[in-house]
Symmetry: none
Subunit: 231 residues, 4 copies
Amino acid sequence: MSLSKLFCKKDPSSAVKRERRKEARPGELLDAALNLFVEKGFAATRAEEVAARAGVSKGTLFLYFQSKEELLKAVVRENISGRFKEWNDEFANFEGSTVDMLTYCMNIWWERVGATKASGITKLMMSEATNFPDIAAFYQQEVIEPGQSLIRRILQRGMDRDEFRKLDLDYAVFAVIAPMIFLMLAKHSSGVCARASVTLDPKKYIASQLEAILYGFSTNPEHTASPKEKK
Amino acid sequence: MSLSKLFCKKDPSSAVKRERRKEARPGELLDAALNLFVEKGFAATRAEEVAARAGVSKGTLFLYFQSKEELLKAVVRENISGRFKEWNDEFANFEGSTVDMLTYCMNIWWERVGATKASGITKLMMSEATNFPDIAAFYQQEVIEPGQSLIRRILQRGMDRDEFRKLDLDYAVFAVIAPMIFLMLAKHSSGVCARASVTLDPKKYIASQLEAILYGFSTNPEHTASPKEKK
Amino acid sequence: MSLSKLFCKKDPSSAVKRERRKEARPGELLDAALNLFVEKGFAATRAEEVAARAGVSKGTLFLYFQSKEELLKAVVRENISGRFKEWNDEFANFEGSTVDMLTYCMNIWWERVGATKASGITKLMMSEATNFPDIAAFYQQEVIEPGQSLIRRILQRGMDRDEFRKLDLDYAVFAVIAPMIFLMLAKHSSGVCARASVTLDPKKYIASQLEAILYGFSTNPEHTASPKEKK
Amino acid sequence: MSLSKLFCKKDPSSAVKRERRKEARPGELLDAALNLFVEKGFAATRAEEVAARAGVSKGTLFLYFQSKEELLKAVVRENISGRFKEWNDEFANFEGSTVDMLTYCMNIWWERVGATKASGITKLMMSEATNFPDIAAFYQQEVIEPGQSLIRRILQRGMDRDEFRKLDLDYAVFAVIAPMIFLMLAKHSSGVCARASVTLDPKKYIASQLEAILYGFSTNPEHTASPKEKK
DNA sequence: GATGAATGAGGATTCATTCAT
DNA sequence: CATGAATGAATCCTCATTCAT
């Protein structure tokens, strides 16, 4: 932004460093906040800790965010940013089998969301949703709806092309979503979801879940109709 | 005071009330605490609120529980009584197909845990595990381990009897567990897991997941070998 | 008081025991309170502890004493009881040297007060006087005044009989009183007054102090004028 | 903001006030705490009162002291700085009679400790020793031991130089210490030690006690044998 | 009278937030 | 803009006191 930037890309001088930092301040605070909120929970994280981890003073935090609650909201907003628009396009033009499509979808999701800090948001929302209804609604609208909708369209495509058998989409989507959520929680609440969480290989896990979802555990190849529910 | 006293040693009215209440108190408090902790989170719940919901005063809470933290521990312990022991026996002697066994397992789990307040514990643990490592360890040992172990044995049985194809158990168990966890979270973090959570029919959801897990979405009957992993 | 007492001095039956206890209740409570107040201080002693040490329930304590403060006042009153009236008589008729008189006075004081629980009262007053001005005034009037007055009369007698040199009584009395107070405090606040408090032999201590005091007070022919104060 | 800023880098007015106050705070708080603890006792003093007397708010107190208990510890430490080290040196090189030495010792003690607020510490310790064993141990080590040891050395010197008769030092030290303690308690527990406490002139009192003590300790040619102890 | 369950005022402590510097 | 000293509302917890049994 400043002229110095145009001429001097990697100026180690303090002047530029300070300037860059000044602009980066809010971002660093959001980063620190996300990490701490996910690690310790919203209530257990003190504002001063966030400031400290971002390398600024307590007062500075409140210079950029009206309150701790606003900080949380900003953290969520910042990390959600409707990525689904671009994804929708990406998948709208997908060519190839729906099996490949679903496989690609879950893997790309892991790379772009699950493996990043953004996955912490899910845990955060899970814990704080009831305390922040407006932000939960925002999350619902920005993440849950488009995500579910995307999966739904993929499954519908599979059915339309006779790759998948007849599915009740309202429930089938969760077969895809549940493993994703599980993976994020396993990552952030290690020990509570799965003992083996530490050694759980996400890629292998996704492959394993896809296999289960797509082909099932059963060796019985004759299954076309739904099995009768047993009460 | 009342005539009834003359005739009836154990008047169930006011005379007995105080004593009966004394015995009932801890349970009432644990109930109130579980509900509030799940609803609002541990930190956001004031001790006084718990007391109020249990119909007693602040002081009474501390008459039965040393501290708010001890109350949380008691809530977890109370709701995770060794249910797994009986289940293990129940399933050790199971006769019938492993498909039926797994179906029965998930349904019975829903009835006995998922549908009860105990399911809130999972959400609670998810949020507070980092702040209470000892409780998390307890939960891990009393719930995660036995649960995973039970599922594992069922899947192994399926493989032994050639009902299931060859599975990597370390990952396959999660195909069963993830939907359960998802169901509990959907129930307690309204809107964050699934928009349709309110209308999500657990029994139908379980049936749907079982169908997916057991038989897969794919109409392709030739799938016997694992699909190639994609790096 | 009851008839049973007249016929049966040591009836071990529960009826009498309970009856005796009932009458003794207040005394047992005062005893327990004195001990605990002295040991731990007034504020740090819980009413329930007092009740427990007296072998009754919390409620019973408040049956006999309006409040914890009233209990303290009762403890002080109970243990002060103008013993000085009888002592005045005892010393009014004393025959023998004033040296013997003072020696006897301090030793008898130790036996009858210093060595008993009553000595704890002094420590109690020291700590709580400012919080209970009315009781401090009572103590002042019932203990300090008569005590000082008694010592004063003894010293005056010594001067009248030319056993002691001319003393400024306003200050000389404290030479006698200070060691007594010191002894009581050493007994109840061990470690704060004197490291050796545990092994401090009160009788030897009194003898030692008397020796110091007396042969300074004594009509030493070579010491008649006060030594000059040096600024 | 003010013009003075333009001309004067270190304006001692408002600009510096905040910083100066920061440094002064702990001292102001310790002062307030000492006074209140001595006046009302530790338990009866509310943290807020201490803050108020120091002219700050409740929260500020806890900015400087971890807890009320730590505040008490700091008060004791602050007021008992190793004064004894300098005194030891001062007395090691003393020239003159031991009578003068002891006289000087008690008078200097009064000026430097007895007359200052530090004397309140003794009363404080007396009341709270049992509740704060570690502070009591600290006090014991920092005050009682060195004090007793110093007195002991003075008396020994008197004996070595044949100014004093043979003394049992274990007990004789208390003849010097008891009046000091008495004087401090008289000062802080008005009315409980001595009715005349208000008008008691400490200098005169010390002179009076010295006279009593010295000419009992003094090598009175007519008093060589101890008087018989009476059992 | 005796009990001990229940109460709630009171006090220590924390921490988000403000604001003078 | 940045700081961090100061604030005080909020909350946990204690314990004297009450009162139904």
